[in-house]
Amino acid sequence: MKSLGRRISLGAAAPLMALVFAIVSSSIVLLLAGSNPLRAYSDMLNHASKLETMVDILNRATPLFISGIAAAIGFRMNLFNIGVEGQYLLAALVAAEVGGVVHLPAPLHVALILLVGMTVGAAYSGVAGVLKVTRGISEVISTIMLNAIAISGLIVAGLKAWQAGGAVSGSVTRVGTTPIPKSGRIPNLNRFVELFTRHIGRDRQLTGMLVIAIIVGVAYHVLLNRSRFGYDLRASGANPFAAQAGGVSPKRMILTAMLLSGAVAGLVGMTEIFSSGLFPSNPIQGLGFAGIAVALLGRNSAIGAAIAALIFAFLDISSGILQNTGSASREIVQIMQALIILAAVVAYQVTQRIRDREEAKAASAALGGVLA
């Protein structure tokens, strides 16, 4: 029992150490820049305690969390899906245009948009999957290239084509895809939240994608930890040869993991297209790379990713206040985020090594010192 307690404390120590390290080193940076770190942090916390800011944070955490799960599916299988970035942007673009063109009753319309997004995301990550299993191309390299092809090629082309179509029908030049009618927008959760709190002001709307994100998180947890498929996936991630001997085809697992990861990635951009009603010409970028960070910090678990997404969203949103109060440059949070990731991966590596060493010690003790 003692070892279990130690194991848990080791597991929690790593992310905490990472946070402390990031806070201390960002404080040093702030001090060097002539700002008062304590004032900056208290400004951020004060700001975050407002209801409207909390809504902003949840709206930001939702896509971050989904993106984190997309990356985590790959990580569990030892696959680096660096391509979440390109997959979610491309998926959001196509889903928004389809959603803008078709007319359906409300729940079906929303479901169609989500489905199109997942399909496009899966198809695009599937390209990397197929290249890996048929040609042996590393998914790291192929997804980096596919990201660039999507972002500076396909998306530019799509926006141009669909914007042009709109310019003919409408009198005003539009920036983005065809607007999605009301029936195709996921309802917001304001009324639900307002049951427990006061009225949410300042036109803030809590995205309905939060519900989808929770479903994705629960499904991910159950599928990976409670199903045969999840077992196979984790097994081939841990040791592909042993898994193959156990009857798990590594190629099929690679392809399935890439498709699943891409399908989830396809949902990342939905928060934005539902809230703005179209795919804008300058969409929010970087959520895919941030998702990798979220998955790393959350150690590929659903709960961990949720906490990590909230931390990142808090930093993103509450940094806005720094500029207003003038207590520091808001850009400090980007440095903080990167430091958290670096510190976290180093801390995980160190605790992992301590754990391995103790396991080896325990094993040799159990064998009566034969190995030692």
Binding site: I82, M145, A148, S152, F289, L296, S329, I341, L342
Partner: protein
């Protein structure tokens, strides 16, 4: 088959030169169809070199890291650090210091990557992703603290620096008529160009475009090609660095300090990526530090590294090939040249098809034929390709190269593996 054997026995530089000459002949013939001369114009090749240099430097940076066994997808982040520190150093201390600080900024990113991957054994891709987030974040923070305060009156802001001074230029003596100790040498290549002989004038024009009026950074980058080949393959240092990337365990058994060579490899890698960034921020390309101005060229450098099969000369070939479409787009106002490029793509794909056919590889033959027909159809149907085509061409080329040649590429054997001392 005799031809194939002959090619195999050629020295590497001669083979690449032959490929280049065949490429120029193809470009020369093809541009006639589209009634343009831009494909082999001097302006195009000069722009190609200017755009290719950062890719070349980043690719060579990747070479040093990956030859020592550390995958560096953080090149992009290190390059961003290079753009910022390059611009700052140039503004603060002068143009040459800009290059120095750019390299230093990149090297700091490299050091961080080395500490994470070599010291702590963190996965290389993960650390690289973190550095790609850290680089732009740091640049933005520093801009808000320095460009937006001290240099605000000169036009600095959070996303941009004031105009950056730049180092001088250099024209090769004799070849392109540069000055040698104050004496103006004859312009031999220029003489050929003026004769307008078919092909000969074209190829001399291209070479003259490359060797005249180039930045000192370009001279340095070009000199780095033979230098890194010599350093990595002809010296004891290089042998030890490469064994760290091939079989670190074997190196360790010989008493080599593998960690040291990995550190050096990754730090040099960061310095070269940083220099590439400083070059982008110098007047050769943009003349300012601007947020997002690297536009993924660190990743293109990685692509050049793979295209070049982890070898200096191949990286140079990749860098020029990837710089070419960008350069062409700058000159190509009526879209004729870009259109002609589609025909070049078609020819290249059919060449791959023939190559696959000779090796009796049915699936590759069919795939290459499909790509070739698609490119041909595009050439025939479209009047000019859309402007985003040039943007993604490098990435498309890499994917195609990977599809057909992955099995022939040979990365360092222990590339990307975490090495711990004493654990073989």
């Amino acid at each position: 088959m005799i031809v194939v054997n002959y090619l195999k026995n050629m020295p590497v530089w001669a083979r690449w030169m032959l490929y280049a000459i065949v490429g120029v002949i193809v470009l020369n013939i093809v541009q006639g169809f589209d009634d343009t001369s831009l494909l082999t114009a001097q302006g195009t090749t000069r722009a190609m070199l200017r755009w290719g240099v950062p890719i070349l430097l980043a690719g060579l940076g990747g070479l040093f890291a990956e030859r020592s066994g550390v995958v560096n997808i953080g090149l992009e982040g290190m390059m961003v650090l290079g753009t910022w520190f390059g611009a700052w150093g140039a503004l603060q201390f002068g143009a040459w210091w800009g290059l120095f600080f750019g390299a230093l900024g990149g090297a700091m990113g490299g050091l961080l990557h080395a500490v994470a991957t070599v010291q702590f054994g963190v996965d290389h891709v993960i650390s690289g992703v973190a550095i790609n987030i850290l680089g732009p974040g740091t640049a933005r923070f520093l801009s808000s603290e320095i460009f937006n305060k001290k240099f605000k009156s000169q036009g600095g802001s959070i996303t941009q620096s004031p105009r950056v001074p730049t180092v001088g230029r250099f024209t090769f003596p004799f070849l392109a008529g540069g000055n040698l100790f104050g004496w103006k040498t004859p312009d031999i290549l220029g003489w050929f160009v003026k004769k307008h002989w078919f092909f000969i004038s074209d190829i001399t024009g291209i070479v003259r475009g490359l060797v005249s009026n180039m930045s000192w950074v370009t001279v340095f980058a070009l000199a780095m090609i033979p230098f890194s080949a010599w350093l990595l393959w002809r010296t004891r240092f290089g042998l030890r660095l490469r064994i760290s990337g091939e079989r670190p365990g074997a190196g360790e058994a010989q008493g080599i300090n593998i960690y040291f060579y990995k550190y050096v490899g990754v730090i040099v890698s960061g310095a070269l990526a940083g220099l590439a960034g400083a070059f982008i921020a110098s007047q050769e390309l943009s003349g300012v530090y601007k947020e997002g101005e690297t536009t993924g060229r660190g990743f293109i450098g990685l692509a050049a590294l793979i295209f070049g099969n982890w070898r200096p000369l191949g990286i140079f070939g990749g860098a020029m090939l990837f710089g070419y479409p960008f350069a062409l787009k700058l000159q190509d106002l009526d879209g004729k040249a870009s259109h002609a490029l589609l025909l070049v793509t078609t020819i290249a794909m059919f060449a791959v098809m023939v190559w696959a056919l000779l090796r009796r590889n049915a699936s590759d033959t069919v795939l290459a034929a499909v790509f070739g027909i698609a490119a041909l159809a595009w050439y025939l149907l479209a009047k000019t390709p859309p402007d985003w085509w040039a943007q993604i061409l490098p990435y498309v080329i890499v994917v195609v190269v990977l599809i057909f040649f992955t099995k022939r590429l040979r990365p360092p054997a222990a590339d990307g593996q975490v090495y711990r001392k004493g654990e073989v």
